[in-house]
């Protein structure tokens, strides 16, 4: 259904163009769930925004192909793209505090998608909004529909955002860090809700997060991104049980354990390289515990370790082959 081929995204800065996402490819079938993990600046959100083509056209250069239902979204005229947004592909954002318009009621905002795509009138849209609020488990929906965003808690607002996103029963929902701004207990509720809705509506979901544990629990497959590149792709179980790339290992180790009493939390040393000053070889080499001289010479390719499991680390790949 969604097939991204060699997507690269560059942004214009004062001194020219810098590369944000480099050569990312993956596919997503109908009713599938995919997680994208990486730290801030890894390019995970940029990849997702590219699918909806939300970058300012003037300052962005996109190469590659984003095939959705057999058409390339990158070459589609803006008019056609607008029909797809909200109807076929929807998105929810990280910060529910700022994702709702403060001067419109939540009913107005949920109904808006329907009024745009299904040309509903105000009354019908309002009625549909109540149904959608029910669907995202907001109690007393008929009364809540006339509330303004400031009257709702963060978790409630995120539910409203989800209601807006699923209004037209899209086939793909992109959730960009949907729980980062929320309490831990609310996080779990929102993820449960997304899981249920995925079943009910039969849509595919791309979940973007910096939390590998959360993503592995939610999605069938997980992509790990680092410095604009895909470094590992695997089924979540594999990723959680035996991550192959040293960066994924580090991410997993960085999840604090509830059982053990650790004095100091684990952190991967160093930080993500600036897009303008990436090292000549492997982007992760400066922080990597397994680094070899060859790593800093040339960028490593993404290679298949076993069917469905890709990594961008020749050192680990070679080690796997010798052991077994």
């Amino acid at each position: 259904m969604l097939q991204i081929e060699n997507l690269s995204v560059d942004f214009r800065v004062d001194s020219g163009w810098i590369s944000s996402v480099t050569d990312v490819s993956f596919t997503l079938g109908p009713r599938a769930s995919l997680g994208i993990v990486g730290e801030s600046g890894s390019g995970k959100s940029v990849t997702a925004l590219s699918v909806l083509r939300l970058h300012a056209a003037r300052n962005t250069r996109m190469r590659g192909r984003i095939m959705f239902d057999g058409q390339d979204l990158l070459t589609l005229p803006e008019r056609r793209m607008r029909e797809i947004r909200g109807r076929d592909i929807a998105m929810i954002f990280q910060d529910p505090m700022h994702s709702l318009n403060p001067v419109l009621t939540i009913g107005d905002q949920i109904g808006e998608t329907l009024r745009i795509h299904q040309k509903l009138d105000a009354a019908a849209a309002q009625k549909a909004a109540i149904g959608l609020l029910d669907m995202v488990r907001i109690p007393d929906a008929a009364r809540r529909v006339t509330d303004y965003p400031h009257q709702l808690s963060g978790g409630m607002r995120q539910r409203v955002m989800i209601a807006m996103a699923i209004a037209c029963r899209p086939r793909l929902l992109i959730a960009d860090e949907p729980t980062t701004a929320l309490d831990v207990t609310v996080q779990a509720q929102i993820l449960d809700l997304l899981r249920d809705l995925r079943e009910e509506i039969g849509m595919s979901v791309i979940l973007i997060s910096h939390d590998l544990g959360l993503v592995a629990e939610f999605a069938e497959r997980v992509l790990v991104m680092y410095a604009g590149e895909l470094v590992e792709e695997a089924p979540s179980l594999t990723m959680f049980a035996r991550p192959a790339h040293p960066y994924s290992e580090g991410l997993l180790k960085a999840i604090p354990s509830a059982d053990e009493d650790v004095g100091r939390l684990y952190a991967i040393p160093g930080r993500i390289p600036d897009p303008g000053r990436r090292p000549p070889g492997c982007n992760f080499a400066p922080r990597c515990p397994l680094v070899q001289p060859a790593c800093t010479a040339a960028p490593p390719p993404l290679a298949t370790m076993e069917p469905g499991h890709l990594i961008r680390c020749p050192v680990r790949l070679a080690a796997m082959e010798t052991t077994g």
């Binding site: 001067v103 745009i116 109540i130 008929a142 529909v145």
Partner: protein, 295 residues
């Protein structure tokens, strides 16, 4: 879907509730209360002019030329024996209309220009440089120029003052719109498939109304003052119909012998400007808490 029995609750007017909260907060603000009171009294007096004064604003009575303030002429009479009190009451109609109309027109023009500038980034440089050029002229000078070109009518005073205040309105709207257009809910609207028109008018414009409304009150006050200045220079609303400005202008030759001709319309102008400014201060404090100085 919900059943019909729960639907009437949804029909409860939501906007009125929000408005009520806002009104309560405004009312608790002292300078807003005083300003609104002054403005309300002036507007009421302008509307009720025929009830407050039996005379006609242009009725002359040569016997009473330069009559000083007395029981019959509480504000005195001018060189034609016209009652200043009546003229100030009727003059309020024209002066307030000029203030209101030019503030509204300037707001509409400023909103249009400012939104265009914030939305079409390529035009931004050109539009704002033109606005800067207009701002470089003193507003009153610009108004004199435009007014001179259009001829002496009330409508040309309004157009002149409105054009003079468009640039500052445009700046306010542009600045606010530039902030709002980068907010997540604008992205969210785009994700829903909303087009430019819907985003501009439904999502951005309502969210820049607060600073715009506040500057409307200030421009209202400026415009009343500017009307007086234009009249004083002889290019305001033409006599004999009274405006506060032209009563003063007509009285200036007699300022030593008949001080009352200029004093009372002058007081009316000061009071109206003071009222609008207090009202605007209150609005700003309540609508834009970031600028709050004192409660």
């Amino acid at each position: 879907m919900t059943d019909a029995t729960t639907l009437p609750a949804a029909a409860m007017p939501p906007r009125s509730a929000r408005r009520r909260i806002l009104m309560r907060r405004l009312w608790r603000h002292r300078s807003f209360r005083v300003g609104a009171g002054i403005v309300a009294v002036i507007v009421l007096m302008a509307v009720a002019a025929p009830l407050l004064s039996g005379g006609q604003p242009n009725a002359m009575s040569l016997r009473n030329r330069f009559a000083p303030p007395s029981a019959d002429f509480i504000f005195g009479a001018d060189n034609f024996g016209r009652d200043i009190f009546t003229r100030v009451l009727y003059g309020a109609r024209i002066s307030l209309w000029i203030g209101f109309a030019s503030a509204m027109l300037a707001a509409a023009g400023g909103a249009l220009v400012g939104m265009a500038s914030a939305w079409f980034r390529k035009l931004d440089g050109i539009i704002m440089r033109i606005m800067d050029a207009l701002l470089a002229f003193p507003a009153i000078l610009l108004a004199i120029g435009i007014n001179a070109a259009l001829g002496p009518q009330v409508s040309s005073v309004i157009i002149a003052l409105a054009s003079a205040y468009v640039p500052r309105m445009a700046r306010i709207v542009r600045a606010a719109a530039l902030v709002v257009r980068e907010l997540d809910y604008v992205d969210a609207a785009r994700v829903s498939g909303a087009g430019a028109g819907r985003i501009i008018f439904r999502h951005i414009l309502p969210n820049v109304m607060a600073p715009l409304l506040v500057s409307v009150t200030f421009v209202f006050a400026y415009a009343i003052l500017a009307e007086a200045a234009l009249s004083f220079l002889g290019i305001g609303p033409p006599p004999p119909h009274p405006s506060w400005g032209n009563i003063i202008a007509e009285g200036r030759d007699y300022s030593v012998e008949a001080w009352w001709i200029m004093l009372f319309p002058g007081l009316a102008i000061s009071l109206a400007a003071l009222g609008m400014n207090l009202l605007g201060d209150g609005l700003r404090d309540v609508l834009d808490p970031r600028l709050k100085i004192e409660a």
